[in-house]
């Protein structure tokens, strides 16, 4: 492999790592900071991806849209629509406790995926949506330069999401979320309206996932229902558990690590296995990630980077106790 193709591959790898990191940050807000067991990540990612693709894509006589709007409008729309969907789901389902919320969100994600598969007039059905515009492509072409340019965009988005979430979770607002996660009844007894905070956290997390979906769609240029299967939810969860839920740096680290293990193992399996066994080899990747989660949970149950005890960045320093 020459230097150029290595660079190209690294750019490709990093774009995906960055997109996964954004999705993991969204999940971290919900699970890590609020204790909301969302197993429907792929559904909200799909809403973001399809929304942005439809808003920005060229008109297609065979289906609804596209509207040819600027790509930033598409990304914004992806967040808004994912947020609206999350609001509807949240109002109905957030009263449920952990495992029931998990079952409900899982069902919703499967439903969204099935809608994408069957609502051919909107989503293009099993063939999905093609020729999703690539930002700056007219300027950078479609080769390495574009990959690097897109990487810069993804990193900028990751930075913005990071900044926005860090400001939020290390604040009195984040402190209420943590309290609700720890003991909802006790938080309510101290005047906190748990349902409102849970809904805010859930909607915001899903909006971030929707943005991740939009970034994915415009990078690959083509989306189909099979991109949003439950395996995606599993991957994002693996990233959060490995990296350390309740810690945004952990979510990003986990995204890079798990994505690295995923791609390296995928490449190795392709090299090692005969063509006839490749499909079964892919299942080995899932086994590998599952084993990694098991090891992490035994060795470092809080993930590689655990959460900090102090939530609000304003509460860290304390004057020495009066002696």
């Amino acid at each position: 492999m020459d230097a150029l193709s290595l660079l190209s591959y690294l750019a490709f790898f990093s774009v995906f790592a960055g997109i996964f990191a954004i999705m993991a940050l969204g999940l971290n807000l919900q699970w890590g900071f609020t204790g909301l067991f969302n197993v429907g990540v792929a559904g909200f990612v799909a809403i973001g991806a399809y929304t942005s693709a439809l808003l920005t894509g060229p008109e297609d006589a065979a289906r609804f849209g596209g509207f040819g709007l600027p790509i930033l409008v598409g990304w914004l729309g992806a967040m808004v629509l994912a947020g609206i969907a999350a609001f509807i789901v949240g109002v109905a389902a957030l009263r449920l406790r952990e495992d029931y919320l998990a079952i409900t969100t899982f069902g919703i994600a499967v439903t969204i995926q099935l809608v994408a598969l069957n609502a051919t007039a909107v989503t293009g059905g099993p063939f999905g949506i093609q020729s999703i515009p690539k930002p700056l492509a007219g300027w950078l072409g479609t080769g390495l330069a574009w990959n690097l340019g897109y990487l810069a965009l993804v990193l900028a988005m990751l930075g913005a999401v990071w900044w926005g979430l860090e400001r939020l979770v290390a604040s009195p607002w984040g402190r209420v979320l943590r309290a609700i996660r720890e003991d909802e009844a006790a938080a309510a007894s101290l005047g906190k309206r748990a349902s409102a905070f849970r809904l805010q956290s859930f909607v915001m997390g899903c909006m971030v996932m929707g943005l991740g979906g939009a970034l994915y769609a415009h990078f690959v240029g083509y989306i189909a229902p099979e991109d949003f299967l439950p395996i995606l939810t599993f991957q994002i969860w693996a990233m959060l558990i490995v990296g350390g839920s309740g810690n945004n740096a952990g979510a990003v680290l986990g995204a890079v690590l798990v994505w690295a293990i995923w791609t390296v193992s995928g490449g190795a399996l392709r090299e090692m296995l005969p063509v006839a066994e490749q499909a079964r080899g892919a299942a080995l990747q899932v086994v590998l990630i599952g084993a990694l989660i098991a090891v992490i949970l035994v060795v470092r149950p809080r993930g590689l980077l655990g959460e900090r005890a102090t939530v609000s960045r304003h509460a860290a320093k304390v004057s020495p106790p009066p002696s």
Binding site: S171, P172, R178, A188, R193, A309, T310, A315
Partner: protein, 252 residues
Amino acid sequence: MLVAQGLTKGFGGPPVVEDVSFTLARGAITGLIGPNGAGKTTLFNLLAGSLRPDRGTLALDGTRIEGRRPDEVFALGMARTFQIPRPFPAMTVLENVMLAPPGQQGERFWTNWLRPGAVAAEERRVRERALHWLDFVGLTRLAQEPARVLSGGQRKLLELARVLVAEPRLILLDEPGAGVAPPLLATIMEKIVALNAQGTSFLIIEHNMELVMSLCRPVLVLAQGKLLMEGEPEAVRADRRVVEAYLGAGIA
């Protein structure tokens, strides 16, 4: 300041709290006693909004609060602690207390983006208040420790500080003395008296009769879900019905 009329609550079977009416006077430390299973904690949950009464009314300083959510009741100035303390174990002792003051603008997520300076200033004030009450209950030394390291008695004190920082007018204490070592118990009792002198009213569930007799006036007696009697501690102690409720009829 708190008026309960005909409070009734059942869980499918016979009522656990039945037709309970009483009035808590402003500035009083009222005791609530009764044998195990009398319905004391259920009554607390009804007052604090954790449970919705089947029947009856509840008014706090003239505002009807029956069926209101716990966070609404808290906002109206009535706070409660739990029989088994419920600290937020992964949060520091300091932040357990900083959580409680009502109406913090930093709890609205957008202010943390738009007005970080205002939130930082508010947090400094909240932190000072929290440290003041941690000092009051003697937990300053543990302020930056996660609450999970606290002993049972220290947890009781933390819950007290957490409630006090919000400066409620009426505090419901569920067995403040249970599982607390005697020196700590004396501290807690002192704190209650000191706060009461500053105008805070209390309703206290307690099994420790020494605590009840020395602190509480008047005392309500609950037995089998019904209000058995209400009176001065001496009168309650001497009452034949109360002794029977605790020990069973025929012994006294």
